[in-house]
Symmetry: C2
DNA sequence: AAGGGCGATGAATCTCTAT
DNA sequence: AATAGAGATTCATCGCCCT
């Protein structure tokens, strides 16, 4: 299957894509959680928020994680509106979020014109316990569609909850990287052969999952460092395809 | 441990309870979901909305499931404000909701003055599949506290996700009945000996779980039919207590 | 008593028809 | 044309009966 990684801001790249050209959107926007105060959220370093002070890995920061909640909602609505334009009628959108931004993310999806269809918890077996409280064990995937959802040629029934630990060791290239096994399950919400779009591609895991499931992929990543990593991983993933020639486009 | 079931509307009963007298609130308010249109959501019969046409059981309808979304939020804020007054400083509130009402419920909790602390998915192994989409497998428990959460004398670490099937067969007394095993895990967010309050007690499962975990219980139920069932179940649960004499109060 | 087989069912959703 | 109502649908799970 073919793939493309655009290097640039989602709000600059999405308008260049043709209307109704994409069958599925799967993405993990930078959601500024963590810091309780606007000041904490606007702190310069992502690592300070998401990574233990003594963590040994040296993953690069990512951009766009310093909005306050109001402008997060506004900005995400703009992005998701462009995604709706680019989406074919009946396409699904799957948007990752944490518990704190779930309401703002569902508002943005609906404000952008998507029909909200459900929530899929993502359970991370490796997660922090919390004294005298509940472990923070799940993130969430919001599921929406552009109008009535398209019917697949062959019916599929997908799970209501996905499980998988974040990649560790040298598999891990990005601070918020998702397991490919989880993304492969999500990709199946699109019909086989669909084009999958990820406007915040990061290290490209959505694309790796899309190619593995015989879908095409268009990604967009603002940080040069990660765009390069994504291209490397997608080249490798395309070569892995059973007999399929990896054909990077664009 | 002692227990009470008040028969009446939560908004009438809560104001009669003393300020700062309760250590934990666990409840499942009637959240009017289901139905594509406002009219369908406001339909008179719960069975018509939520139960398979050919289901054989004959469980009674429950009250209060006919609000539109705006008044749901308004009404729930009123209830949760009274709950906050009744709660001791540091008390937790655990509020069940489905995916559709999760944002409105988190708004109501915060508007009422509670500090939102997290979401615990409840996974139900028995759930409906969805063609070409994700099974609706989870409901959600929103966790909040009245100011900074109280410390337990002995630390406890609770799960970030709870699992359990709805009671079936003759165990089942209410359409939306929760498994006691799930509620027992949730009750542990309160210190041992605390008073647990459920303003929408239904068939009283929260009380059964509270007694089993050595907490006292105050419940409130508007439908006479269910208030009676709750009293029966609590009487039995108190008698089951290892040596403890069941002492209904009020 | 343990285990296999059968059947019921889920805090719906979707389609089609009648008003 | 919008709304209301009736009927079909889908499968993992679990109760219950029968060996």
């Amino acid at each position: 299957m073919t793939w493309t990684i655009h290097h640039g801001d989602a709000l600059a790249v999405l308008p260049t894509l043709p209307t109704a050209s994409v069958g599925c959107i799967i993405t993990d926007p930078p959601y500024n959680s963590g810091g309780r105060t606007a000041t904490e959220r606007r702190s310069d370093s992502i690592r300070g928020k998401y990574v233990n002070g003594n963590a040994k890995h040296a993953l690069a920061d990512f951009a766009g994680d310093n909005r306050d909640q109001r402008s997060f909602g506004y900005w995400l609505t703009l992005v998701l509106s462009e995604c709706l334009r680019v989406a074919e009628p009946g396409a699904s959108a799957l948007v990752f979020t944490d518990w704190r931004q779930l309401p703002a993310t569902s508002d943005a999806l609906q404000a952008a014109g998507w029909t909200w269809r459900g929530v899929i918890p993502w359970r991370k077996p490796i997660s922090r316990p919390c004294r005298d409280g509940f472990r923070r064990e799940c993130e969430y995937v919001l599921w929406a569609s552009s109008g009535p959802p398209a019917r697949h040629p062959e019916p599929v029934y997908l799970p209501g909850l996905v499980e998988g630990s974040q990649p560790r060791g040298k598999e891990r290239r990005h601070i918020t990287q998702k397991p490919v096994a989880v993304l492969r399950q999500l990709v199946r919400v699109s019909p086989p052969g669909a084009v999958v779009l990820d406007p915040f591609a990061g290290a490209g895991s959505t694309g790796v999952a899309a190619l593995a499931e015989d879908r095409a992929f268009i990604g967009c990543e603002i940080t040069e460092h990660y765009a390069t990593i994504a291209r490397e991983r997608l080249t490798a993933a395309a070569a892995d395809g059973a007999g399929a020639v990896g054909e990077p486009v664009g």
